[in-house]
């Protein structure tokens, strides 16, 4: 396993696009967050909406960049034929996505931590606020959210073996539900969808107030996203084991 981890780390490290994608994820996350917070009106009574959540809006865009990184981490092996070398060296195939997952989570979490910190600072929500529980939960949760998005993307791309289809599936899964939820008129159905859809449920972790009115509690919501990621990884690992590469 250590060799597998080392190999995956080398692959990711030596790919020039990795650094650019991570940098891009940080930049778009902070930029969108700053843009949103600067547009929100605040007065003496407070702000319209949840300031922590709003300053972390950029995660919605940053996740698309993370999805590119995670999808190409596996699909580029298929497009270049590298996968045959990889699984010759690591005959216990599920160890391949597992090693990739560990490396990706570390890298993505590091970049996301910078992005989240940058967003909160840009949102004029400087350090004193970080000490209080809900903001800390939102910040930490957003980092975990990004890591889980990377795992979801990795699992989906391992299952479909193609970067285009993989990216399409992941972004469709993330962005379609919020649009669908808006159209549905039945409040009960709306609530159920908000509880099971990966992005709306996962982003519940960013809420810092009015928790009892949320369709799903913050950690449970992140749990839902974790379940999606686990299912995708499981499916990807299983297919990798069963199919010819």
């Amino acid at each position: 396993m250590r060799q597998a981890l080392n190999a995956e780390w080398t692959k990711l490290r030596t790919e020039t696009s990795t650094l650019w994608l991570l940098l891009g994820a940080v930049i778009v996350t902070v930029a969108l967050g700053a843009g949103v917070t600067s547009s929100i009106m605040c007065d003496a009574r407070g702000c319209a909406g949840d300031p922590t959540e709003l300053s972390l809006t950029g995660i919605m865009l940053g996740q698309a960049v993370i999805a590119i990184l995670a999808v190409t981490a596996i699909s580029s092996e298929y497009s270049t034929g590298m996968i045959r070398t990889t699984i010759t060296l690591v005959p216990r195939r599920p160890a391949v996505p597992a090693a990739k997952a560990v490396v990706l989570v570390c890298v993505v979490a590091a970049a996301s931590a910078i992005a989240v910190l940058g967003s909160l600072i840009a949102g004029r929500y400087i350090l004193p606020g970080l000490a209080d529980g809900p903001t800390l939960r939102a910040a930490l949760g957003s980092v975990l959210y990004m890591a889980l998005i990377a795992l979801l993307s990795l699992g989906a791309a391992t299952a479909v073996r193609d970067s285009a289809t993989g990216t399409g599936i992941v972004l469709g899964l993330l962005y379609l539900f919020p649009v669908l939820i808006k159209v549905i008129k039945d409040p009960q159905w709306q609530r159920h969808l908000q509880q099971i859809a990966p992005m709306p449920a996962g982003l519940a972790i960013q809420a810092t107030g009015n928790l009892q009115h949320l369709p799903i509690s913050p950690w449970a919501g992140l749990g839902v996203l974790a379940a999606w990621a686990a299912a995708a990884l499981l499916l990807g690992g299983l297919l990798l084991q069963l199919r010819d590469a």
Partner: protein
């Protein structure tokens, strides 16, 4: 003896590299990759299935099959007011002074006096008592002076200012054949013509008289907004009647409930009229106006609601359009393509035409089917569906096809620029769908939300807006309520602009770079 050997010459005609051949080649490439055309079929299917799923959930207490009343132009209308009427046969006129217009608003805990700026009290001539029938009316309003309105969508301003005891408003309607003319006067002596309504084929006998109605007050809050019931009461002095009026007594009745945008309050649960001396006091709620989208529409589905599946189709089509070019780079087919057709810009145009036409056809088919299947289904579940004139429906459906085609061409062009699938798909999906989500979610204030839907490719979704804007109907005309900042075709032009710009850059790079 000499024998001559004739060298072999092919009988086949010379090959041609015309644009038609190029188009044919690109079409063959698309057609023969099973995953692509099957994917395109799935995209069209996703438009239908996701659309049906989104609009099939749950049911509404409304009676099955009930829809909004439709006005003479086919548009959905509210036609709800308290009507004190007699019949008028042939030509004739009615003249009446409105001496006061007040109202009651339902507060959080108590009712207080006040009026909705577009409450209406005045005289009306209407073909029949059925909702949606043609009419013309002159009315006083609390916030917008005297107005002449007819056939729901037409609105002409008269004398400005509110009605007070010191400044009553005299209103007059004169029917002559198919035309009804409205006048107003501040003192009852000098009259001003406001406007003339032509109501073609108006029945010879009409219902005419006094009416009062008031829409609910719409409050704009950060979380979408809410409605507050409002009821209006007006005093009329004795009406002056000329022409073929029936001799029966005045009859009072509420026409068609309170509609989608009106509501009686807890204490005033119905409209009524009382005679005060020779005059009348009339109380009513509702509205006579076109139905607009969002909060003023109440529960119900607009045309664009059925097209929610377009987002699913969009993602699938972006994937296919991207693969249509990145696949060539990956399989090195691009070398063959460019060898066969050295004029590289034309290759790009042929590709764009093929993928654009295919996505347009698939998108149009999916959109037409989901609307055809979804509307009866929603009505059976008790949800009214917002009907629009046929031309608007055509624009929305064809526009949906064009929207998908433009997004596909955008992805294709970016594919030439970046040559890699994942970033292209992520960029196109993220900058098309995410601004839509952020802009319509109601999280952002109206200004930035509208800015997003003006400058990003998400502006293209404006082509799907079927709900109309009327300055004389109070509503929150913002993106969360279904109103885009740009006109439908202007919005689509923004998306097309992105696609064309990307195509231009792609053509330059394709010529300049090695393949």
């Amino acid at each position: 003896m000499t024998s001559t050997m004739t060298p072999y010459r092919s009988q086949a005609g010379p090959g041609r590299d015309g644009f038609r051949q190029l188009l044919g080649a690109e079409w063959t490439k698309f057609r023969t990759v099973r995953g692509w055309w099957a994917g395109m079929a799935c995209a069209a299917l996703a438009v239908v299935l996701v659309g049906l799923l989104g609009t099939a959930a749950g049911s509404h207490s409304g009676s099955a099959g009930a829809g909004f009343p439709a006005g003479p132009g086919g548009e959905a209308v509210n036609d709800s007011f308290f009507f004190v009427h007699r019949t008028l046969t042939g030509n004739g006129s009615i003249t009446v002074p409105v001496t006061s217009l007040t109202g009651v608003i339902d507060g959080q805990s108590r009712e207080y006096s006040g009026t909705q700026p577009w409450a209406k009290a005045g005289v009306i001539m209407k073909e029949s008592l059925s909702q949606g029938s043609p009419y013309a009316a002159v009315m006083a309003t609390p916030g917008h002076g005297v107005r002449m309105q007819y056939d729901y969508t037409q609105d002409i301003a008269g004398i400005p200012g509110a009605v007070t005891a010191a400044a009553p408003r005299w209103l007059r309607l004169v029917r002559s054949g198919d035309t009804i003319t409205g006048y107003d006067s501040a003192g009852g002596t000098s009259w001003t013509l406001i406007g003339t309504a032509r109501l073609p084929g108006l029945a010879s006998t009409v219902q005419a008289g006094l009416f009062v109605t008031s829409p609910s007050i719409i409050q704009d809050s950060n979380k979408g907004g809410g409605t507050v019931p409002a009821v209006a009461t007006a005093h009329f002095s004795q009406p002056g009647l000329v022409g073929g009026w029936s001799q029966q007594a005045w009859t009072g009745q509420q026409l068609g409930g309170a509609g989608t945008s009106g509501s009686y309050t807890d204490n005033i649960t119905t409209g009524q009229f009382t005679r005060s001396g020779t005059g009348f006091t009339v109380t009513g709620a509702g509205d006579i106006a076109p139905i607009v989208g969002g909060i003023a529409m109440g529960p119900g589905y607009t045309l664009e609601n059925f097209l929610v599946g377009v987002f699913a189709g969009l993602v699938a089509m972006i994937v296919i359009a991207t693969l249509f070019i990145t696949g060539e780079y990956r399989r090195r087919l691009i070398h063959t393509t460019l060898t066969v057709s050295p004029r590289r810009g034309r290759v790009l145009i042929a590709k764009a035409l093929v993928i654009g036409s295919v996505t347009f056809a698939a998108g149009l088919a999916g959109a037409a089917v989901v609307v055809l299947l979804g509307q009866p289904h929603a009505r059976a579940d008790g949800f009214p569906t917002f009907t629009v004139p046929p031309l608007t429906e055509l624009r929305v459906l064809a526009g949906t096809g064009l929207l998908l085609a433009a997004a596909a061409v955008f992805a294709l062009a970016l594919g030439v620029i970046l040559r890699r699938s994942a970033p292209v798909i992520a960029i196109v999906v993220a900058i098309t769908v995410l601004p839509y989500i952020l802009g319509t979610a109601g999280v952002l204030p109206a200004g930035p939300a509208e800015w997003l839907l003006r400058v990003t490719p998400a502006a293209g979704f404006a082509i799907q807006q079927s709900v109309p804007f009327y300055q004389q109907v109070m509503n929150i005309y913002t993106p969360p309520n279904g109103y885009y900042p740009l006109a439908p075709w202007a919005g689509l032009a923004v998306l097309c602009g992105y696609a064309l710009l990307a195509l231009a850059v792609a053509a330059t790079l394709l010529r300049r770079r090695d393949a």
